[in-house]
Amino acid sequence: MTHNRFEELQRRCKALQRKRFLKVAGLILFSFIALFWVYSMREPVTPIAIVLPEPSLPEVIVETNESQVVSAPLEAEVIPEVDEFKEPILFLEPKFKPTTTPKLPQKEIQEANRLLKMEHTLLEAFNHSATYESAYALAHFYFERKSYLEAIVWAKKANKLNPNLDQTWLIYAKSKFSLGEKEEAISSLERIIGYIKSEELRDLLDFYKGQR
């Protein structure tokens, strides 16, 4: 291997690589131009309309007085003539587009979220410290929302924690009454009145007895 030979090979290699690069670059450029040309020459897309063939009218057989069978076109009797027959056009894409997008009831959603947060807070409070107040708060919360079953559960819990207070008994009796268990509501009120002297309970008992 001589120095000249090595240099010559290096020179040839560089020339070859340059040639290859130009070839590839030219090919890419040509492809781009060809693609651009094809894209620019392309016609705009028109909607495809499918024209249905005109329906051929069937012939019906009409019986006359002479008991002869005469064939007459159905058109005259059955199908009323239309002034202008419009060819139905079926589009592949639905033409109808709603002008306004439907909105969700924001107020209700906000209210539901607020109540959910409140319930969560009350439950957390009860879990943190199981007191009569927190149980009563939950019973009251569910009673206000007309969730009577839950209200009864939480009223019972509150009564266990402090059976001497009348608020939760009132919730209990009212919930039972609202659920249709009138007798249960009255009997429970009668039992409680023996322990707790409350005007409110007595008034309620009288009212329920009057509702019988």
Partner: protein
Amino acid sequence: MKDFEIAKTLFKDSIDTSFYFDSVSAEAARKKLTDILNAKKNSLVFVLGDPGVGKTHMLTMLHHSPLFSSHSIFMQHPCFEWQELFLKLYTLKGLPFDETENEDIHCELLGELYSDETCIVFVDEAQLLCEKQFEMIAKLCSLHSFQCVLALHKDDVKKVSNHSSFKNFSQEHIFYGTLNEQELHRYLQAQLMAHSQGEIALMFSARNTKKIARYAKGNFRTVKKFFYNLFKLLDYAQKNNLTKQTTLSNCLLVMTALDIGLIRDA
């Protein structure tokens, strides 16, 4: 410091029977040929393949192998006279060759000599044999004591196998394929590692060998030539402090391919 001088010598274009590379095609061909020769069914076996795939190497290796060395002769070049062939056959049996006798008498004598043991005649470059040589091989095959293995180029098989002298003999064809990319990588690593040139072997990535395989088209001879020239260039660059060219690069591979004429830039 990498010794490219030693690495270069490992890829000289010479037949080294001590080294055998077990490529898929080589293994398949070797196994098939060994089976045929052991079965002693076919009088004529043709080993076909492109020039430089390793046909000669395989014949040389089998001729020197303990399996056949005691009862085989190898005609390495196709330009031989009948005397040369017969001399080898007599020498194998440890007998002197009498040049005064004619060809037919020798044929009879050889038939008697090899009646107990079949002799294998390996002939390389069989596509270059002349009419007289074809007839001579046919004569030996007709004695039923000789099996002839002819290595020839793939393109010339029809000309040789359809020769009028060979029509009466049972023939077998064995194809010898090329190396694939993975085999080439394995060959390079094995050859360099076997000669303590691990540092050089690590220079070659699978991507490099893939490129070399593409240049050489899987031809064993071309691959060896490529590596020989590549190490020659690396050796020159190292000795002349051309640091940029002492590492394996795409440019260096292109330079090698240009040097041995695998790429035409004109």
